[in-house]
């Protein structure tokens, strides 16, 4: 099946094309890059069912027993959709007027898209590790090259945290390789042998640490506020919407797929950390005077919510958590986009300056409101389904913990509405130059996101059927495949 190979290769070719065209002209470069980044989405949508089970498997480095092995199952497909939606969004979010060396920026984003597609589909553990670390490089350059004032420090902090978190992953991969009897890094064969390894707890801990830093699970989040805040808009969207999901995907694929017994054993501790993180981040978000930081902490709170769902050892909760990973990607991307538009108009991200902006920018206000409602999990929006399933699963185990986690839903409402109130509502400040409402182009970008939010909220069936952890995925894939 070479369509999967094409899906993987197209972004890299796109990056090359953009880079070459960019040497000649920078006009329409954004449009070209966005169109190129939309090709994977078009490919995915033309054969929604045909992708399940498609694979590419060729020997790559026989001396190291590394295979180029990509394969798509439900879990992969869900994250592929997310990648295919968010990457064009991040490209379109770039402000073409004031951005220097755009061809490099767009090429980096497209390269990242290719690496993400590779990451979400790779079934060779060595290849998985390569993509896992390789995706940091374009992100590092995006933050360091196009970010705000302290971009270099933020970028360095980001990459050092990431590399430190996953530094021992190579050792864990090798330990798994040598504990298996097969001479390969094939994840399917390794998964069955993983728990039997003598070093299983160490290996699992090393993997979990890497994923926990990237997601990030509380208390491994120290890099997050700076990276999210200093990154350019496109970088923030990519970080919050997809990069955090790479960690969640890793936990689902390797953690739950390889070491189910160990994770079950450790679930009280992990669940405790996740719930603590959810509450902590929500409280910190409440205290923020800067809306970009507020949304950054809100993202931290919500990814910890998702992790809590994964660590509840309960199938609907895990399904809900994975669906929620997709939903959170869409919602947080949309929120950062709306915040970015606002920042461009205000010139700052402080919340105590302008007020009552609904008067001057009604469209931006209501679009933001809609995304905020999705973020607070209003029934009918996408987040409601996921969070409800997680809470439902947790309630089955402990009513108290569910109540504690449910508290964050209320906290989210508080801090989000506080943000809306202080910026958009209240007594309007005097008009300043540049306070213009959304242009039709921008609106055109927001509407599909809004549609997606409601579509998933009202009709979650198709996506839910994809949101399976690897343990339950085998049966689900079999059921979905056309006979």
């Amino acid at each position: 099946m070479h369509t999967l190979l094409n899906l993987f290769m197209i972004p890299f070719n796109g990056a090359f094309i953009v880079f070459v065209i960019g040497t000649a002209t920078s006009r329409h470069l954004k449009t070209v890059a966005a169109l190129l980044s939309l090709i994977p989405l078009a490919m995915l949508l033309t054969h929604p069912q045909g992708w399940l089970g498609s694979m590419v498997q060729v020997p790559w480095i026989p001396f190291l027993s590394i295979e180029f092995f990509l394969s798509v199952d439900g879990l992969s497909l869900l994250f592929l959709y997310l990648t295919a939606i968010i990457v064009p969004l991040s490209i379109l979010a770039v402000e073409s007027k004031h951005t220097p060396s755009q061809r490099t920026l767009f090429s980096l984003i497209l390269i990242l898209q290719g690496l993400l597609i590779g990451f979400f589909t790779s079934r060779d553990l060595a290849l998985f590790t390569i993509f896992w670390e390789a995706m940091l490089i374009p992100l590092y350059f995006i933050i360091a090259g196009w970010g705000k004032e302290h971009k270099e420090q933020a970028a360095m902090k980001f990459i050092i945290y990431m590399i430190a978190g996953s530094s021992l992953m190579v050792a864990a991969v090798l330990a798994l390789y040598f504990s298996g009897s097969h001479d390969s890094f094939n994840m399917d064969t390794l998964a069955s042998a993983a728990s039997a390894s003598r070093y299983a707890p160490f290996i699992c801990a090393v993997f979990l640490l890497a994923f926990a830093v990237k997601t990030p699970l509380f208390p491994f989040h120290a890099w997050l506020p700076d990276a999210y805040y200093q990154a350019p808009l496109a970088g923030t969207i990519l970080l919050s919407a997809i990069l955090s999901k790479a960690g969640i995907y890793g936990i689902a694929r390797i953690g739950i797929g390889f070491f189910p017994a160990l994770l079950k054993e450790w679930s009280p501790l992990l669940l405790g950390l996740a719930i603590a993180g959810t509450l902590y981040a929500a409280l910190v978000a409440w205290k923020q005077n800067d809306y970009k930081r507020l949304i950054a902490y809100s993202s931290l709170s919500h990814v910890n919510f998702i992790l809590a769902g994964l660590f509840v050892w309960h199938e609907p909760a895990q399904t809900g958590a994975i669906l929620q990973a997709f939903n959170h990607g869409i919602t947080i991307g949309a929120l950062f986009l709306a915040a970015g538009w606002l920042e461009r108009r205000l010139g700052s991200t402080y919340m105590d300056g302008a007020m009552g902006l609904a008067k001057y920018m009604p469209r931006l206000c209501w679009i933001t409101m809609l995304f905020v409602l999705s973020s607070v999990a209003l029934p009918g929006t996408n987040n409601f389904i996921g969070e409800f399933m997680v809470l439902f699963g947790l309630f089955g185990q402990s009513g108290w913990l569910a109540a504690l986690l449910g508290l964050t839903v209320i906290l989210t409402v508080i801090y989000m509405l506080r943000f809306m109130q202080s910026i958009y509502f209240g007594k309007a400040s005097a008009y300043k130059h540049g306070w213009v409402d959304l242009a039709p182009k921008e609106l055109l970008l927001a509407v599909p996101l809004a549609f997606l939010i409601f579509w998933v909220g009202l009709h979650p069936g198709p996506l839910l059927s994809l949101s399976k952890t690897p343990t339950s995925a085998a049966t689900a894939t079999a059921a979905l495949e056309p006979s």
Binding site: P59, W60, I61, P62, F63, L64, A126, T129, I130, F131, E133, A134, L136, I137, Y140, F141, A144, G145, E152, A155, M156, I159, I160, I163, A164, S167, L168, V170, A171, L174, A175, Y177, F178
Partner: protein, 481 residues
């Protein structure tokens, strides 16, 4: 008994060595009698000589003449080393030609010495006896002592050359003493007989003599390879030497010492004594930890690459300590990747060099704005040296770690991986420097085409290796057979 005669086929087998020998003499001749011509064209001639050497290395038949085989190998590993060292010679010649465009000096002698050094390297790579090994190392070292002090007006160069000479002489003494002791224990200087001779030793004093010899030889080679704690000369010498010579020290002379370790210990004395392997692993620990910590504090690029080189030497000791069947293969792959990435970095450094004091981190500031191509090359080289996937540097390290893991050196793997975190910090700090905005007036980046060509070719090679390393691994697997 008839004395075997040298046939045409034997001369062809010796081809690369003969080409270099006569080529080097030719350079000296031209320098003496046609100085103006030498000033202009000696680098072209050197490239031609190296090219001829490559051609001859690629086609050289294996000699079975009894006059040669006790001294020299004509196997695939020898061919690999010959080609690798000639390619490094190519790189250093291009660097030198770009260097001499900025700084004036007589060039014929320089290339004579460079070709002699490469001659020594090839002799090491093909040695079958301690005698040829020692000859190779001395030819290499003597040429390098002079090359280090080649810029006669540079004070720093004088100091570096003297330090290098004193330290190098000490290392040579260690090496000769070690060889003598090993001969005392085993009764032979032929490398291929060492192992069986060692296994036949029954007398414990003879065994001690042999092991002490092994320790002294290792120490002597560790000096040349700049491995902690035998590294003290490296930062000063790297800083003081002219840039193309620094590059040759970092790549040629280091890999030469490792080629000797490869020939003697990995090939001929595999796992002869567990104590030796433990000793090597201690050296690897020390080099990796020490060099990575000190590299953090460097601001002078040549000193920085001295420490980076020490750290890489530590990594190259890992497979030698592990000695699994995959070790030799992994080590050769690491050689190629390290050489390519280091040459690529030095190509960019030579573009930036304006004054004898060399290039500092500060000179990199805003390089991306001034010269995006050079910045891109240096970024690729640094990421490869750091071992970040998907560059070839990752595969090189991965392969080393795999061999070490298999042999049970898990501690080395973990220290190596943690060191990578530090390494990524200091390599990326340079990258961040290049992408930072420069406030002061901008220094112009020179365009020396020879360095640009070298950088581009090597960068393409690294990019190819990163995507498709299998063919090179296949070729290398013939060499280790």
């Amino acid at each position: 008994m008839t004395i075997p005669q040298l046939q045409a086929i034997d001369l062809l087998a010796l081809g690369p060595l003969l080409v270099l020998l006569f080529g080097a003499l030719l350079m000296l001749f031209i320098e003496s009698f046609f100085e103006k011509f030498a000033q202009k064209y000696s680098w072209v001639l050197t490239l031609a000589i190296l090219g001829l050497g490559l051609l001859s290395a690629a086609t050289a038949p294996a000699s079975e003449n009894a006059l040669l085989t006790p001294w020299l190998r004509f196997d695939d590993a020898a061919r690999f080393f010959t080609i690798l060292f000639l390619a490094i010679g190519f790189g250093c010649t291009l660097l030198a030609s770009s260097f001499f465009r900025v700084f004036q000096a007589s060039q014929g002698e320089y290339y004579f010495l460079l070709l002699s050094a490469i001659f020594g390297l090839i002799l090491i790579g093909g040695s079958a006896d301690y005698l040829t090994l020692f000859l190779g190392i001395e030819t290499l070292s003597l040429s390098l002592y002079i090359l280090t002090g080649f810029m006669k007006r540079w004070k720093l160069s004088h100091e570096a050359a003297l330090k290098f000479f004193l330290m190098g002489a000490l290392a040579t003494a260690f090496l000769v003493y070690g060889i003598a002791m090993m001969y005392g224990g085993a009764g032979t200087t032929r490398l291929d007989l060492l192992f069986s001779a060692y296994k036949k030793i029954t007398d414990s004093s003879e065994r001690t003599l042999f092991l002490a010899g092994a320790a002294f030889i290792t120490a002597g080679l560790a000096f040349k390879a700049a491995v902690v704690p035998f590294h003290i000369w490296a930062p000063d010498v790297y800083e003081g030497a002219p840039t193309p010579v620094t590059a040759f020290l970092a790549v040629g002379s280091k890999l030469g010492a490792f080629a000797a370790l490869y020939r003697v210990f990995l090939e001929e004395l595999p796992n002869f004594d567990a104590m030796w392997n433990q000793g090597i692993s201690v050296l690897a620990y020390l080099s990796i930890i020490y060099a990575n910590l000190l590299a953090l504090r460097q601001t002078h690029l040549k000193r920085f690459f001295a420490y980076s080189g020490i750290s890489h030497a530590g990594f190259m000791l890992i497979p030698i300590a592990a000695e699994t069947p995959a070790s030799a293969h992994a080590l050769l792959f690491y050689f190629v990747v390290y050489a390519a990435a280091t040459l690529c970095a030095f190509a960019v450094i030579s573009l930036l060099e304006k004054k004898p004091e060399g290039v500092t981190m500060h000179d990199l500031k805003g390089l991306y704005k001034r010269a995006p191509f050079a910045a891109g090359l240096l970024t690729l080289a640094l990421l490869t040296l750091a071992g970040v996937p998907p560059t070839a540097g990752f595969f090189a390290k991965f392969y080393l770690f795999k061999a070490a893991f298999q042999a049970g050196y898990i501690g080395l793997v973990i220290v190596g991986l943690l060191a990578t975190v530090v390494a990524i910090y200091y390599y990326l700090r340079m990258v961040a420097m290049m992408f930072a905005v420069q406030e002061e007036k901008e220094a112009v980046v020179g365009v020396q085409w020879s360095a640009v060509v070298l950088g581009s070719v090597v960068a393409l090679f690294i990019a190819y290796l990163s995507v498709h390393p299998a063919p090179l691994l296949e070729v290398l697997s013939w060499a280790v057979k």
